[in-house]
Symmetry: C2
Subunit: 458 residues, 2 copies
Amino acid sequence: MTITTALPHLEALLGSRLATSEAERRLHGQNETYYPNTPPEAVAYPETTEEVSAILKICHEAGCPVTPVGAASSLEGQHLATHGGLSLDMTRMNRVLAVHAEDLNAVVQPGLTRMALNEALRTTGLFFPVDPGADASLGGMTATRASGTTAVRYGTMRENILALEVVMADGTVIRTGTQARKSATGYDLTHLMVGSEGTLGVITELTLRLQGIPEATAAATCRFSSVETAVNCVILTIQSGLPMARIELLDHMMVRGFNAYAQAGLPEQPHLFVEFHGTEAGVAEQMALFGEIAREFGADGWQTATRAEDRNALWKMRHSAHYASAALGKGKHIWPTDVCVPISALAEAVTQAQKDAVRLGLTSTIVGHVGDGNFHAGLSVDPRDADEMARAEAFTGALAQTALRLGGTVSGEHGVGLGKQKFMAAEHGAALAYMRSIKQALDPRGILNPGKLLPPET
Amino acid sequence: MTITTALPHLEALLGSRLATSEAERRLHGQNETYYPNTPPEAVAYPETTEEVSAILKICHEAGCPVTPVGAASSLEGQHLATHGGLSLDMTRMNRVLAVHAEDLNAVVQPGLTRMALNEALRTTGLFFPVDPGADASLGGMTATRASGTTAVRYGTMRENILALEVVMADGTVIRTGTQARKSATGYDLTHLMVGSEGTLGVITELTLRLQGIPEATAAATCRFSSVETAVNCVILTIQSGLPMARIELLDHMMVRGFNAYAQAGLPEQPHLFVEFHGTEAGVAEQMALFGEIAREFGADGWQTATRAEDRNALWKMRHSAHYASAALGKGKHIWPTDVCVPISALAEAVTQAQKDAVRLGLTSTIVGHVGDGNFHAGLSVDPRDADEMARAEAFTGALAQTALRLGGTVSGEHGVGLGKQKFMAAEHGAALAYMRSIKQALDPRGILNPGKLLPPET
C-alpha cells in the first residue's frame, strides 16, 4: 500500500468524498480498451482547487501516487492508477466559470465535458470545436493533447488553450497564460502542461478559445475505388488551401463497421466525409471546388447534408467509430492505435497499415482525420488470446515504425500513456533525457501519474 | 573575463571565425533601441550544428556565457551579452535546407531571414506569414516568439513551428517535433524553446509551416474620428468572425510619424489598415462586410489597394513604424514597448496609454496588431536625459500595470529580455519559480544567455 500514510489525512479532508470500496475502486480501474481492470487504492472527489491543493500536499508528503481522471475515455491507459495510490476524480469540478463572448473565450473547470460546454454555449453563437470521439472531459483532453475531426480547421487542444490553473506536485497553485490571445513573456508553461498526461501537474481551471458558429455549414460524403485515390484527393484538397472544416477517411472495413453498428447502408468502399464552414457563398464555393477535386479522383455516390439534423446524424455516426469497430468482432475488445504522418506520406502509411493487418491475420478498421495526416487503426482483439494480442502488438509496432520512417509521430492524438512508451526513445532520441529532467524538476518525488508517458529508465 | 579559459579552444575550433576585435565586439553590442552598446568578449560565427555543439561543449566546460544572435533586431535587449562571454552569431547558418511544398513546410537554418525565406519560396505558390517589422532571422523570431501583422489570421511563431533542432547547454543536439502537423507524444519541448530567448538552448534548424498564397488579396485603409471608434470597429469585426488577414491600428501620432518619415500625406486621425485573403468572391464578400461594420463606426476616407505594388507600399510603410516613430523626435532614440490585452479591453488600454503619455510629457506613437489585442507604444527618448528616461520608464510601468489589470500580458511580441523582467513576478506569480526550475534543469551552469528573461532572485 502506497497510500497508508496519506489515508487518514485524506479522510479527514474529504469525508465521504474519499472512497475505498471495492466497487468504486474497480469503477476507476476500467478503461475503453484492452487493459485489464486496474483499481486504485482509493478515489478522491475534490470540489475546489483548494481541495486539490490540500490533497496533493498530503500525497506529496506521504509519497503517494496521484492519477487524475476525468471522463476516463483515454485510449492509452493514461487514467489507470498502475502504481496504486489515489485516483483523483475531477468530475465534480465541472462548472462553466465564465463565458467571455466578446473575447471569444470561456473559463471552465476540468471535469466539464466538451458536449456540456457546447450545450452551455448554445445561446451565445459560439462553440468549442475540438471533438475527440468520446464526450471527454476538457481537463483530460488538455492533459492528453486531444484533437478530433475539426483540428484541420481549428487546431487541436494545443491551439485552443489560452491559460491554465494547475496544482503542482507539492500543492502549489500556479496560473499559466493570460486572457490575452498571445504573449511573449517567459517559458510556455501552458504548452508544457498540454499533453503532459497528468505527470507534471493537475489542471484545475482552463481558459479555452471559442469560435463563432459559422453562418453556413454543409457536409458531404463520397466514395472512391481505392484508399489511395481517396487519400490522394485529400492531399490535393489540403495543398489547394481549401479551408476544410472536416475531412475524414473511412476505409472499407470501417464502412462495414458502420453498416453493422449503425445500419449506415453504405457501399463497402473507402469514403470521405467532409464539412465546410463559412458564409453561404463561401460554403457553396468550397463545396464546388472540393467537388471538382474529388471528381478528378473518380469520386462517386456524392451525398450532401445541409440540414442540421442530417449533419448531426453523420458526425454522430463518425464519432461512434470505436464502437462500430467493435461491432466487427463479436465479443472482442478494440485495441485502438493512431499515428500521424506528413500528408504527402499518407497514402503509403494507410496502405502499409492495411497490408500489415492482413499479413498478421487481424481484423482492423482505418478511420482518420486525414487533413492532418492522422489516422487510427481499430484492431479487434480478445485479451485472453495471447497469440492474437501478440499479433496486435506486432501491428502497432509496425505502424509506429512506418510513421517514424515517414517523418511522422507514433501518436497524433491518443497520446503515450502506457501503450506508446516503448516508442518514445525511437521518436525523441536525445530529447527524451530532457523530458526526464523536466519531470524531475517539477515532480521530484514522482507522485504525479507515475508510470505514464516516460518509459522506465534502462 | 569569463571567456579566458574557453578562448584558446574556441580559436582552435573556429580560426578566423572567432573575432575579438574591438570593432566586431562593438558591432555585436549594438541594438535598435535605447540600451547602451554592450560588447561581448568575443564573437563566433559557426557554420554547422556540429560547430555550435562543439562551441557549447567548450563554453559549458569553461562556464563561459553564450548569447545567440541573428539579425540583432530584438527590441528588449535579448541579444546583448550583458554578462560578457561569447556572442554566437548565427547569420552564416542561413540556408533553406528543404521546401516540402506538398506538406506545406520548409526546413531552414536559424540565420535565414523571413524575407529571404519568402524570396526563396517565390516560385512555389507558398509563403511564410509571420512578419515582425524588421527583416528578422527566423531563429531569433522563434526564440522571441515573434508575431506581426498577420498573426490575427495565421498565428504567431508559436503556431508556425513544427519542429526544431536545438543544441543544449552541454552541446547535446536534440530534435523536437516531427514533420507531422500534430503529435500527442511527450512534453512539448518545441513550445518550451519557442520564446525562451536563447536561455534554454540554441536553435540550429527549424521546420516551419507554410501557407498557400491566397488566390486574391485586397487591402484598404480608413480613418476614424477617435481611437475609441476605431478600436470598437476592430472589436466588432473580430467578434463577427470575419477572417481578417491583417487589421492594424495607427493612432494620430503614428500617422504624423508616417507623414514625416514616408510622406504618407494622411489626415492626422486614427486609421485602420486592413487586408483580406481568400478567393476572389471571398475577398469581395469580406471587404463588403468589413465596410459595413466600419461605416457603423463612422469610418471615412476609405481607400482600397488591390494592386500588389500598392499593397506592398502600404505594408512597407507600416513595417517602418519604428523609424517613423523616430522621425517625430529629432535625434532621439525609440523606446519601444508592447502589451497585449483581451480584445474587449483594447479601447480602455489604448486610451489609457495615450493619457499616460500626455501626463508624463512624452512623445509617443501607438500602432498595433489590434485584431490580437496587441499594441505598441514608441516613445521618443534621449538616453542622456535622465529625467526623460525616468518618465519613459514610468510610462512602460503604467502600461504593464494596465495590461495586467485588464487580464493581459506585459508583452504580446517583443518579449522579456532585459526590459520586462521587472514585471515577470507580477504577471506569473508562483509560476515563475517553476520557470526557474526548468532553467536550472536544462542549463545547470547558467551559461545560456544569462541575465535574460528571468529576473534576478531576490
